[in-house]
């Protein structure tokens, strides 16, 4: 899909340039944009290095365990079909905690672990179970407290207050996560009625 978008950007751009007589500046546009791409990446080195270091410390300290305890009642409500003492539950809780803390590197392996355990509980191995759908609804909308990469990007672009988007991003991420949970329940309800489950 991304291939098509890329193609559309380039081909439609070039076509319009040909019609409007801007073809002579296109080579310069390409070279400038490529240079900016490298500059942006280099601008990210400093902040990414610092942040990944801090994240490693957070991960090693077991900060996630504090969140896990707080999230247990929420998970119990969201995943009624998963027994509380099943390994799937603790993997789900760890993934949610890592996501909230913005520990992207840690979240993916934990999430895959959770999927593996959810598959053990799944009667039909080829079809997504309701718990899996809920888990991925949470994951695709990703409840994150500190969007680190964006903060780094804003700093690299010369923002006066790079963390300015933290409160707005928290509100937006809460909206989308809440929407994900509600839609997931609605779809499950209507889906269940249709298939007679």
């Amino acid at each position: 899909m991304i291939n098509k978008f890329w193609l559309v950007f380039i081909v439609s751009g070039m076509a319009v340039a040909a019609v409007t007589g801007r073809m002579d500046s296109m080579t310069q546009v390409i070279l400038n944009a490529a240079g900016r791409g490298v500059n942006v990446a280099m601008g990210l080195v400093a902040i990414l290095t610092f942040w990944l270091g801090i994240m490693k410390v957070a991960e090693r300290s077991g900060l996630m365990r504090l969140l896990v305890r707080a999230l247990r009642p929420v998970a119990k409500f969201l995943f009624p079909s998963v027994p509380l003492d099943h390994p799937a539950m603790s993997a789900i809780l760890m993934t949610m905690s890592a996501d909230i803390l913005g520990l992207g590197n840690a979240a993916t392996p934990l999430g895959l672990q959770a999927m593996k355990h959810l598959q053990e509980l799944n009667p039909d191995k080829e079809t997504a179970s309701p718990a899996m759908c809920t888990f991925l609804a949470l994951n695709t909308s990703s409840l994150t407290l500190i969007p680190t990469t964006v903060i780094a990007l804003r700093a690299a672009a010369g923002s006066l207050n790079p963390a300015m988007i933290v409160p707005t991003a928290i509100i937006a991420t809460c909206c989308s996560t809440l929407a994900a949970v509600v839609f997931d329940r609605l779809f499950r309800y209507f889906n269940g009625r249709k298939t007679g489950q």
């Binding site: 991304i2 978008f5 890329w6 380039i10 751009g13 340039a17 409007t20 801007r22 390409i30 400038n32 944009a33 791409g37 490298v38 942006v40 990446a41 280099m42 990210l44 610092f50 990944l52 270091g53 801090i54 994240m55 410390v57 300290s61 077991g62 993916t108 895959l112 999927m115 598959q119 080829e126 899996m132 991925l136 609804a137 994951n139 695709t140 909308s141 500190i146 969007p147 990469t149 903060i151 990007l153 804003r154 672009a157 010369g158 207050n161 300015m164 988007i165 933290v166 409160p167 707005t168 991003a169 928290i170 937006a172 991420t173 989308s176 929407a179 994900a180 839609f183 779809f187 889906n191």
Partner: protein, 177 residues
């Protein structure tokens, strides 16, 4: 409202960094050595982003400088003005569920063009930071356990993305507009 947000955002990172370091040393983690170990990945990740950024910024540069983007904005104007969405962030909204790094490059372009602290720059940052790449997450997670029928997951993911996108625009316009 704006002042409250400035204070919250100014304090978030310093408080988080301090809390992490203090909690970790209380838990007997060798904080500096662990920090260095984690920080080593920073350079590799930034360098790994170069092809994504170059490819996407070049394509977007062509799309914009040729005048194609203005046409696109004009074409969608009835729809975007109806919904109250700035057309400039529409490509970001479309790319966000498809490719995380592609969207990152588009957000970068918006911030560089309009300034990271402009309303458009803030909306772009909020949108990029508030959701994950739906297609990627579904492909990787379901793929890892061999589930083929993903039922309504795609619909839920994309609907949530639309809500997050509209919320980003609304909140930013309200706070920073």
């Amino acid at each position: 409202m704006m002042e409250l947000f400035s204070v919250v955002s100014a304090w978030t990172i310093p408080v988080f960094v301090t809390a992490v370091v203090v909690y970790a040393s209380w838990k007997k983690v060798p904080v500096f050595e662990t920090f260095v170990q984690g920080g080593k990945e920073g350079f590799a990740i930034a360098v790994g982003l170069i092809p994504y950024l170059v490819g996407m910024l070049v394509a977007l540069g062509i799309f914009r400088e040729s005048g194609a983007f203005d046409l696109f904005v004009e074409l969608l104007n009835p729809l975007t003005s109806l919904l109250g969405i700035p057309a400039e962030v529409l490509p970001l909204a479309i790319m966000r569920p498809i490719s995380g790094n592609g969207a990152l490059a588009i957000a970068t372009e918006i911030m560089q063009r309009f300034g990271p602290d402009s309303l458009l720059g803030l909306i772009a940052g909020t949108m990029q930071g508030s959701t994950d790449t739906t297609f990627y997450v579904l492909t990787v997670y379901f793929g890892s356990v061999g589930v083929k029928k993903i039922r309504y997951s795609m619909a839920v993911g994309l609907l949530a993305d639309i809500v997050g996108f509209l919320a980003s625009v609304a909140v930013c316009s309200l706070v920073f507009g």
